[in-house]
Structure formats: C-alpha cells, structure tokens
Symmetry: C2
Subunit: 176 residues, 2 copies
DNA sequence: TGTACATCAGTGAACGCGCGTTCACTGATGTAC
DNA sequence: TGTACATCAGTGAACGCGCGTTCACTGATGTAC
C-alpha cells in the first residue's frame, strides 16, 4: 500500500542513520541489508524502494557519518583550547569503545580505501569539510587528524586495556 | 597421496605468505580460502590439512605480517636520521599504492579491531615488537606509529591523487 | 638393506548457509477532473 | 468538495551465487621390523 510521504521520508532517514551506526560498528561486509532494515523497523524487501543497491546505501551512510564529524569539528575551533579539547574527546576511552557513535574515518577508512570510486569521493568530500571546519593551518589540521585517527585505530585493535589506554594517552600528550 | 615433508612445509609457508599479501590488499572478508590456495598453487580442499579454519589462517597471517614490519623497523634505528627515513618510507606513494607489500596495521587494523580475541592478541604482540624495534622513547614511538598509520589510511581512502599526496607530505613534514 | 603397510597432503565434488537482489502482490495515499 | 484511479512503499517468498567447510578417495612417503 501507499504510505504518507512524510512517514516515508522519516523511514528513509532512519535507514541511513541505522546503516551508518551499524557500518561503523561492524564494517560494511558484516552488516546485511536485512539487518539495517530490521534496525529501521522495516523488512528487507522495502530496501529497494529507497536505494538502488547496498553500495548506494554505503555511499549515503558515509556522507551522513562525515557530516556528523564535520559538525563535531565545527563545535570546537581552531584556537589551541579547541584543538586540544577536540583531540582529548577523540582519543577518549568513550570514543574508542563506541565506534557506532564515533568518527566514520576511524571506523571505516580502510574499508573505504578498497571501495568504489563514488564511496571514496564521498569520503574525500567529507574529509575536506572536516579540515575546513577545523580551520587554522591546513597542514596542521591534516597532521592532527591523521595522528588521532591512527591512535584510535591502534587502541581499538589492541587487546590489553592498559596498552590501549597507553596508546590514547601517548598520542594525547604528544599533541598537546 | 603423501608428499615429502619438506615440500609440505614450503607449501605451508607459501599459503601464509600469499594470505598475508591478499588480506592486506583486499581485507579478510574479500579474500576467499579458495583464492589463497590458488595463489599458493593448490586447491581449496587441501587448506584444512594446514589450518583448522579461515580464522586460524587470519591469525597466522597477521603474525607473519607484523613480523615483516618489525624487521623493517629494526633496519632503521632510534636515532633521528633513522626515524625520519622510516617515516619517509612509510609515508611514500609507493607504500600507499602497494598495501600488499606494506604495513599490516595500516591495511587491516580496523578489521582486526572487529576480529576474534586471538587475532587481536597476535596483532598486539606484533605492535609491541615493532615499538621495541623502534627503540628510543616509547611514547614517541607510539605517537609516530599512530601518525604515519593515520596518514596512510587517509591517503589511501581519498580519491584525488593531489589531495592524497598532500596528506602524505603534511604528515611527513610535521614529523621531521 | 629390503619389505610391508600405515600415514596424510592433496584433489575435486558436494553440503548447507547467508547474502544481495527480484518479484507478485497489497491497499492507503495523493492527484486529476 | 467529491469521485475515480494511478501510484508506490512495504511485505514476504523466492532466486542464484559464492562462501567456508566436509568428505571419499588417491598414492608416494616415511617408518617399523
């Protein structure tokens, strides 16, 4: 049956949101279209009324996730205080332990590198926006983004919690 | 039929080597057991004479890849010259463009973070060995490792070659 | 050193499963008049 | 404002495919005597 246009738009948004969260938590490959639709409160068949393919959803989910990151970057500033606060949040145990709510690049960067051109282009546009949001010296913004990203990737991959905390702490200190 | 023990050991090594390369190139999920065996010059059925499961192969491949990285780290030193040369090589277009021959952490870190405890423990042991190989101040070694790793992840994910080079260059400069 | 035989790496067909995607169908919505 | 009907988001069964894994079988190797 046909549904109110408003509800359809809300469902569409829910699909993107849940996909973004699930992809960041478990990666593109470990999340099925069915799981995303279930998380959005729908059945899998309806998926193709919203997106042409899983790959298209991945693209939209990356755009959405990068937008969230750009917003967070904007809320801090280019001043030293803002930069430090940003790095402290990024390198917190909370961010490490909740990839589903965290930075898309820290969760999916490597998978994006192996993905289709459109996905990489979307990722890239997001990164440019994030760098612009950070403001200040561009080289500095790139460097700090790379450093905190690498720190979180290592802290997440490692098994020993003490070692993991040590990694976060080391990168935080060196960036201050 | 039964095969000479020496040949069997050589084949075993070939499986690990090819698996490590393929996994770094395309990720665990995008490489099938059959592909690995084919690359090693065998058929897929023989796989289970060498490993109990694909996950076991992933673990061994991570250990192998981390060992390669530790060797490369050892060949440079803790002195300033060695550190710089290491970062320059790590952040080179060549390393960016050849993940199959490159750092395991830069290729598979995020996937390892979502993997079984044994895989993460193996990754961790490798990282400890790499840090020890770098020598010097441990915090500094962790920081530099995170920064170059993040730089390569971003440089690989991005689409525009100029932007990608700019990322490598920015991280290189800031680490000098 | 020679003989008998158990071992086991390797082959290729087969299995069950989950996945992305398709499709016939439904029926309230939204539009044309 | 009321009526007629085309639209289309959503359902759930079905599809084909590739995957990890299993299995019966092979036959040279390596070992026990």
């Amino acid at each position: 049956m046909r549904y109110p246009a408003k509800e359809t738009a809300a469902k569409h948004e829910r699909i993107v949101k849940e996909a973004s969260r699930l992809f960041r938590e478990r990666g593109f490959e470990n999340v099925s279209v069915g799981e995303v639709m279930k998380a959005a409160g729908l059945t899998h068949g309806a998926f193709y009324a919203h997106f042409g393919s899983k790959e298209e959803l991945e693209t939209v989910a990356i755009a959405y996730g990068q937008e969230l990151s750009a917003g967070r970057a904007r809320s801090h500033g280019a001043a030293k205080k803002g930069r430090q606060a940003y790095a402290d949040r990024y390198l917190s145990p909370r961010h490490r332990d909740n990839p589903g709510d965290g930075c898309t690049m820290a969760a999916l960067g490597q998978e994006v590198a192996r993905s289709a051109p459109e996905i990489r282009a979307t990722f890239e546009r997001g990164l440019e926006e994030i760098l612009a949001a950070h403001g200040g010296d561009r080289k500095e913004a790139i460097f700090r983004t790379a450093a905190v990203l690498g720190g979180v990737v290592l802290a997440r991959a490692v098994q020993n919690p003490r070692f993991s905390n040590e990694i976060l702490e080391s990168v935080r200190q060196k960036l201050d």
